[in-house]
């Protein structure tokens, strides 16, 4: 007789109990054909045939209506019966206790820790620390209560060891985990199949891979909003709740590096709302830049003033040059007539 080490005994005992539970699940489900419904339907049919033979039109009409209702109920009952069939087929697909034990033994090579609690009838594995898109979520314990397999409630929980919960909702410890319940999404059917078949190695791997995958389109809290802030609308980086700046023009959210101030009025502005003076290229808001008459350039007050001053000096120079030229001509004429 093969002796098992003391390490293996809890594993083997757990495997046997899990196998026993799974096979009992299937045996407990009794297939009930809708016999009562059929008998009722048959009774209505017999009465209808009698009414039709006797020429009782009103009774026939009422019985026909009743027959129609009974047929509809029968169709529903048959469908319910049909949907209850799959568990019967599973009897052949339930892994033997030895395979379940091998699954439990193999979990140690995939997870940081594996714990078997025979008293609580639980198997728990610990994942490595999980980070998604730079957000550290930490390690998770996946705790399977095997006696709950086949119940309508969740048979397992996903518990964060050192929760880094979403800022907006402390119950969300992972984008797809709320209050210890994983929203399985694409993995739902495969997880149920693995559990009902006793393929616990596959089950724990499936749950882990869901935790390692971020579905931004369907999360309890998106990673963009995990720390309470959003992402910079200029550069796209993630920003914390105290590091975000709002543009005072368009209210866009910017990070510290992308936000700037208008040199004129000191408003905080995003890169879209910040404009450059076309002379000095310093940054201003649209209200502080002035459109120069004539050139159409948008200039800051300083450059505009300087521009007008320069223009004024040019006019004076031009005027002075023009007078000198006139005088020169006159002198020239005078000279020539002399």
């Amino acid at each position: 007789m093969k002796r098992h080490s003391s390490d293996q005994r809890p594993m083997i005992r757990a495997a046997m109990k899990i196998h026993e539970h799974l096979t009992s699940l299937v045996r407990k489900r009794q297939l009930r054909l809708p016999v009562n419904r059929w008998e009722e339907l048959s009774g209505v049919h017999r009465r209808l045939q009698l009414a039709q033979r006797k020429g009782w039109r009103r009774a026939s009409s009422v019985l026909l209506t009743n027959l129609e209702y009974q047929l509809r109920y029968l169709v529903t009952d048959i469908e319910v019966c049909r949907q209850s069939l799959p568990p019967w087929r599973l009897l052949d697909t339930i892994a033997p206790a030895s395979a379940i034990a091998n699954d439990l033994a193999a979990l140690t090579s995939e997870f940081e820790a594996v714990k078997i609690d025979l008293k609580r009838k639980q198997i728990a594995v610990q994942t490595a620390s999980i980070a998604l898109e730079g957000v550290e979520l930490g390690a998770f314990d996946l705790v399977l209560s095997w006696e709950s397999i086949g119940d309508s409630t969740f048979a397992y929980s996903v518990i964060a060891q050192n929760p880094n919960s979403a800022e907006s909702n402390s119950r969300v410890t992972h984008p797809h985990v709320s209050e210890g319940a994983l929203c399985e999404g694409e993995g739902s059917v495969a997880i149920q199949a693995a559990l009902l078949s006793g393929r616990l190695f596959d089950f724990f791997l499936l749950v882990r891979q869901i935790l390692l995958t971020y579905n931004s389109g369907s999360a309890f809290v998106s990673l963009d909003e995990w720390s309470g802030g959003g992402s910079c609308e200029d550069c796209g980086c993630r920003i914390g709740v105290h590091d975000d700046y709002r543009c005072e023009r368009c209210f866009a959210t910017s990070c510290r590096d992308c936000v700037s101030s208008c040199l004129g009025c000191d408003s905080h502005l995003c890169s879209q709302c910040l404009l450059a003076c076309q002379a000095c290229e310093e940054t201003y808001c649209s209200s502080c830049l002035i459109k120069q008459t004539g050139t159409g350039q948008h200039l800051c007050p300083s450059c505009l003033e300087q521009g007008e001053k320069d223009a004024g000096e040019e006019d004076e120079t031009a005027e002075a040059t023009g007078v000198a030229a006139t005088n020169t001509v006159c002198m020239g004429k005078t000279a020539s007539t002399a």
Partner: protein
């Protein structure tokens, strides 16, 4: 020879199948998951990671699990 093949993609498939002798893991994958790339799956033989060139044996348990499975809310 007969092996237990488990495909955890989508709805899941787990059944004993017949495969030719000397079939490798890579060949089995190409045959059974023709639309997928091996690097997008965890491939385990008897619950252990293996190289793609590993030759399958009678009674092996081969499982294929996608690395990316999208959860929801």
């Amino acid at each position: 020879m007969k092996i237990l093949f488990i495909n955890n993609d989508g709805g899941g498939f787990a059944d004993n199948i017949e495969v030719p002798a000397e079939m490798t893991v890579q060949q089995l994958f190409a045959q059974r998951v023709s639309h997928g790339k091996p690097e997008n799956y965890l491939i385990r033989v008897n619950r252990q990671p293996v190289s793609s060139g590993q030759v399958l044996q009678e009674g092996d348990r081969v499982s294929i699990t996608p690395t990316k499975i999208e959860g929801a809310h």
